[in-house]
């Protein structure tokens, strides 16, 4: 069971309080009607599925209720960091996974 840092509660809490919500930084287009079928498909379905550090969304659904983003190494499942929704992906190049 993962231990997840909620950037709003500023606390590391058990996975049971959280719900995974898919890849982060896939913003809904401002004007979907302006998109081609291919562009709309990319928004709907195409995922990076990285093997390595993955930017993903979690919701502290059984806690403060907030959606937030986290960087997690999908090979070790270790979290690098987590940050509030709307914030840009932090640059963690060379940074070791959080202990």
């Amino acid at each position: 069971m993962l231990l997840i840092q909620c950037p709003y509660c500023d606390d590391a809490l058990p996975e049971l309080e959280f719900a995974y919500a898919g890849e982060a930084h896939i913003d809904r287009p401002q004007d979907p009607s302006a998109l081609s079928d291919e562009e709309w498909r990319d928004f709907l379905f195409i995922r990076s599925n990285v093997k390595g550090v993955h930017a993903e969304r979690w919701r502290h659904i059984n806690g403060c209720g907030r959606f937030f983003n986290a960087l997690r190494d999908t090979v070790s499942d270790r979290f690098v960091t987590s940050y509030k929704a709307g914030e840009p992906r932090p640059d963690t190049s060379g940074k070791e996974p959080a202990q």
């Binding site: 069971m1 809904r28 979907p32 969304r57 919701r59 270790r78």
Partner: protein, 1000 residues
């Protein structure tokens, strides 16, 4: 029967004799004995039969790594379990045990015929045969193979015991209570850390329990141990747990531990849990699990009486049992010499110490001679004599590779030691790397992925002094990484038994190796020959060898066999072990009871059962229930002699003719509130909301971003900035989460807040021409007359004095109201309406009648008439889409090529030619019933009922191009091979003009 108990040895409680049975015979042991130690004390070595060849087998180890001595244990009805390790199960008065995998008896087992055929049953045998003729596999071969396989029998009754679980949080979790674990716990405990120390056995001490002759800090080992335990128990920040096995090491130092609570008890307290699953979250973990002794691989090494030297030493010193009176010791490691010495000192006549090494420390040889023990260095073992119990060991000298003339050593036990393997199973659960140490010929912990420290024999260290020193260091390291400070303690150790040894493949022999039965995995009957065969056949990775031979896949999970298997495979490949690899150890560390994982989640608590405030009224009034999501809902209210069909027909009739009452409390309810609430609703739902007046309600349709229908419900506008949204029963949580997602992450600029009020309100629906008449007298603060309160409106008022949100809506086509009152008043209001309703023959109805009534009106049920691939147009509710809206969730997907394409499945009505025939929901529809299979299916029946009011059956169906097939005749093939013909219609079967809503 001779007694092998030695006076003055062991820690069992001689004052407390305990009787138990094994295969129907009664044996006596003492409190503190395991089944194995007690049987050995009675001279019984034969405890089981092997998996494949059914060879007689005796106990090999003294611990949880035992592969042979597995027994079935019973303590009354429903309390039987198979494959229990005799070396772990403590005896208690009345314990009943039985041997396994034999017929008719343990001493004479017909299954042993396989042993005679063993030349056939080589590794991979199954893959090469049983293929002719093909049909025989299912009917003949497989049943035979299955019958022979398996060890114990499955339980046949429901387990009456229950199982507990608990979360536990600590600074330092120390796993293993040998010298290094104790030292780590002492050090961390003294530094004030919150420490948990666990051990899988009944008593702490580990090696110290088998090495009483060592002295620590000037005191005999057992005195020092008692002192250490007392000190730990005196610390409030330390918790000691015995009979507790750390079974799995999960992410971020979450350790699963299972504690046996009652399996050792004669009298179990009523209702006591049998085991407890501890879910431990530790900041630091110290693994001090010691090392596992390796058997030696030679012909006949599985004969009962052949066991690990360390095990014999444990049985002697911890349990006071001499496993043989004339043992031979066969070893390639110094440690076994000490076992020989202890045996001799306890009165055994040690026949000889046979060491495969040519040179052994002089001191050991002197100690042996001093005890008059003959020594054979540079010797190999080539056979054993005896079937149910070893009678002799055949040994030969080996000089530069040449095997010399044999010599028979008569004996009643052979104590072997092929070296020691660091126990790193939990460490490898963490995906930490295991690095090959060429010198130690062992895998040692390398790169770590968790906050973990390994101490003692787990790092290849040997001896009590080294273990204590390494343990206290690990404890101190753990404290320091917690930000605390702790100095490593120092220990004075005298008479320590250090030593070294070598690892080797199967022992050399002067006989044909092809004939040798030299076992590597005892339980699975894997021999050295099998492993070499696997390699010969191209199995070049240890994973392949393991899977091809099943080496290491027995219930000890390779604790005894993996390293020997690897050494032999590496030899066969002419490679170094690390190039052949290492099979990953997987949880659990030892086999773990299912019940312990299930914990409290059984019976009523397996899953939550949600009930409404009116649920108990329904129960008192004989409702049948159906599960809907987590809820249980009243399905129908049968009266004496009624089946579902009759009850539902009656409920429908009563509602259409007068008034029916329905518990709608499970409907999801969400408050959408804030200055931008309207804009938010416009973006989420397909419908337009701007023009909806306060006090009015509207059907709302919610899509996924993929354009398919997700949910629907009636939504009332309470204020300019407040909507009362209802969802489907199953959709409530999903819809709220979806709304929060868009609000928080896509449109954070909107000033809107969402609150679930599903359970704040109890919701009672009144439907039927007399609904208003019944309700009117209870209502204050609102005019609910037809003019003042039109269809699809909502008002806040009081009903029977309770604050209420009163909707006028209809899911039945009749005049209808939905009354929301604070949940605690739900049942009271229901009963008031019930009493007053008697004058109108009010009828309570359940979900089934609700489904029929709505179907007669052609209203869809999301999830039944839609299935996650249906768009609003498909479902015939395109009118619910705000045509002028530029965007809403899912809009863009509705323009995709295959969504606008012709021939999509569309929701239509079906009227069977024979009005009495009710179609099966899920039945498939074809245009041509006479075509051959596979048939072209053009749709399926989504809803189908008997309509009492129409006096005929009705159905809804999703049909390709359905809207263009009006009045066509389609065909529905039935299970029985017949065909039903039906006409395509619209979905409004009853009162299409909506006249019935207009009740004055």
């Amino acid at each position: 029967m001779t007694d092998f108990r030695v006076e003055g040895r062991g820690r069992v409680n001689r004052a407390k004799p305990v009787s138990f049975t094994f295969d129907g015979e009664t044996y006596r042991g003492f409190e503190g004995d395991t089944v194995a130690s007690a049987l050995l004390a009675n001279g019984v070595h034969l405890m089981g039969r092997s998996f494949k060849y059914h060879r007689p087998r005796g106990v090999v180890t003294a611990g949880s790594d035992e592969p042979n001595a597995l027994v079935g244990t019973t303590r009354g009805k429903g309390r039987f379990e198979p494959n229990t390790r005799a070396t772990i199960q403590e005896i208690y008065p009345g314990l009943t045990t039985e041997s396994q995998n034999k017929w008719p008896s343990l001493k004479f087992d017909l299954g042993a015929i396989n042993d005679r055929l063993y030349m056939l049953f080589s590794a991979g045998f199954y893959y090469k045969t049983f293929m002719w003729p093909r049909s025989f596999w299912d009917s003949v071969y497989e049943p035979l193979i299955r019958k022979a396989a398996g060890l114990g029998k499955a339980p046949t009754e429901v387990d009456p015991d229950h199982y507990a679980s608990r979360y536990l949080h600590c600074d330092v979790l120390v796993i293993g209570s040998g010298p290094s674990g104790i030292a780590a716990a002492l050090t961390a405990g003294r530094a004030g850390s919150k420490v948990v120390l666990v051990d899988e056995t009944a008593e702490m001490g580990g090696t110290l329990l088998s090495e009483p002759s060592v002295s620590i800090d000037g005191r005999p080992a057992w005195d020092w141990l008692a002192g250490a335990m007392a000190e730990l128990d005196a610390m409030p920040n330390v918790r000691r747990m015995t009979r507790t096995t750390a079974t799995g090491y999960y992410h971020q130092n979450m350790i699963g531990m299972v504690q046996k609570l009652t399996d050792h008890m004669g009298d179990v307290p009523e209702g006591a849990p049998r085991e407890r699953m501890w879910r431990v979250r530790a900041k630091e973990v110290v693994l001090a699990q010691g090392a596992i002794e390796r058997p030696m691989v030679f012909d006949g090494n599985d004969c009962p009486g052949v066991m690990l030297a360390g095990a014999a030493q444990t049985f002697l010193n911890r349990f006071g049992v001499l496993v043989g009176k004339q043992p031979v010791v066969l070893t390639s490691h110094d440690s076994a010499w000490y076992s020989a010495f202890d045996m001799a000192d306890a009165g055994a006549k040690v026949v000889a110490i046979v060491d495969t090494r040519e040179s052994v420390p002089q001191a050991l040889q002197n100690d042996a001679r001093a005890r008059g023990i003959p020594i054979h260095l540079g010797h190999t073992a080539t056979a054993t004599k005896g079937r149910l119990r070893v009678a002799a060991l055949r040994i030969n000298p080996v000089h530069n590779g040449k095997v010399g003339a044999e010599k028979m050593l008569s004996c009643d036990a052979v104590l072997v030691c092929g070296g020691w393997t660091p126990s790193l199973h939990l460490f490898s659960h963490t995906k930490g790397s295991l690095d090959w140490d060429a010198e130690a010929k062992a895998y040692l912990p390398g790169h770590k992925t968790e906050d973990v420290h390994i101490a003692g024999a787990g790092r290849g260290l040997w001896g009590i002094a080294a273990a204590l020193e390494d343990g206290t260091k690990a404890g101190a390291d753990a404290v320091r990484s917690l930000g605390g400070s702790a100095g490593a303690a120092t220990f004075e150790v005298a008479d320590d038994r250090t030593g070294s040894g070598i690892t080797q493949k199967e022992l050399p022999t002067d006989r044909s190796p092809g004939k040798a039965k030299a076992f590597v995995d005892f339980q699975n009957d894997v021999t050295a020959k099998d492993i070499r065969l696997a390699v010969r056949e191209g199995m070049k990775s240890i994973e392949h060898v393991k899977r091809y031979t099943t080496n290491g896949m027995a219930t000890d999970q390779g604790k005894l066999s993996n390293m020997n298997g690897l050494t032999i495979a590496a030899d066969a490949l002419g490679k170094e072990a690390p190039q052949v690899g290492l099979t990953t150890f997987r949880p659990p560390y030892t086999p773990t009871t299912f019940g312990a994982f299930a914990g409290y989640h059984k019976g009523a608590h397996f899953e939550v059962t949600r009930k409404t405030p009116i649920d108990d009224w329904a129960e008192e009034n004989g409702a049948e229930y159906e599960p809907v999501a987590l809820w249980r809902r009243a399905w129908y209210f049968p009266q004496a002699g009624e089946d579902m069909h009759k009850a539902v027909a009656r409920e429908c009739k009563a509602t259409r003719e007068s008034v029916g009452i329905f518990d709608a409390s499970t409907l999801g309810k969400i408050e959408v509130s804030g200055p931008d609430a309207t804009e938010f609703m416009n973006r989420m739902y397909t419908n337009p909301w701007t023009k909806l007046g306060v006090g009015r309600a509207r059907y709302g349709l919610l899509l996924g971003e993929d354009g398919f229908i997700r949910d629907d419900g009636v939504i009332g506008r309470m204020r300019d900035d407040l909507f009362h949204v209802t969802t489907t029963t199953g959709g409530a949580a999903r819809v709220l989460n979806m709304m929060e997602d868009y609000l928080q992450t896509e449109w954070p600029d909107l000033r809107v807040w969402l609150t679930s009020t599903t359970e704040e309100w109890a919701t009672i629906a009144l439907n039927g021409p007399n609904a208003r008449k019944l309700l009117q007298p209870f209502v204050e603060g609102a005019d609910i007359s037809a003019d003042a309160m039109p269809h699809m409106s909502v008002v806040e008022c009081t009903v029977a004095g309770f604050p209420s949100r009163l909707f006028r809506i209809s899911f039945t086509g009749e005049l209808g109201f939905e009354i929301n009152v604070p949940a605690r008043h739900g049942r009271v209001l229901w009963e008031k309406l019930w009493d007053a309703g008697q004058q109108y023959d009010i009828c309570p109805y359940g979900t089934e009648t609700m489904h029929v009534l709505r179907a007669e009106k052609g209203f869809i049920i999301v999830g039944q008439d839609t299935d996650g691939t249906v768009t609003p147009e498909d479902a015939g509710i395109g009118w619910a889409i705000g045509k002028k809206k530029i965007d809403f969730v899912g809009k863009r997907s509705l323009d995709r090529p295959d969504i606008v394409a012709k021939g999509r499945k569309q929701l239509v009505g079906l009227l069977t030619d024979d009005p009495k025939t009710v179609l099966t929901e899920g039945a498939q529809i074809v245009a041509d019933p006479n075509q051959p299979k596979p048939m072209k299916m053009i749709g399926h029946v989504t809803s189908s009922y008997w309509s009492e009011v129409l006096g005929r059956s009705i159905a809804m169906a999703l049909v390709e191009g359905g809207f263009d097939r009006m009045d066509d005749r389609l065909h529905i093939p039935t299970e029985t091979g017949g065909t039903v013909t039906a006409k395509v219609t619209g979905t409004q079967f009853y009162d299409p003009a909506g006249e019935r809503l207009k009740v004055e």
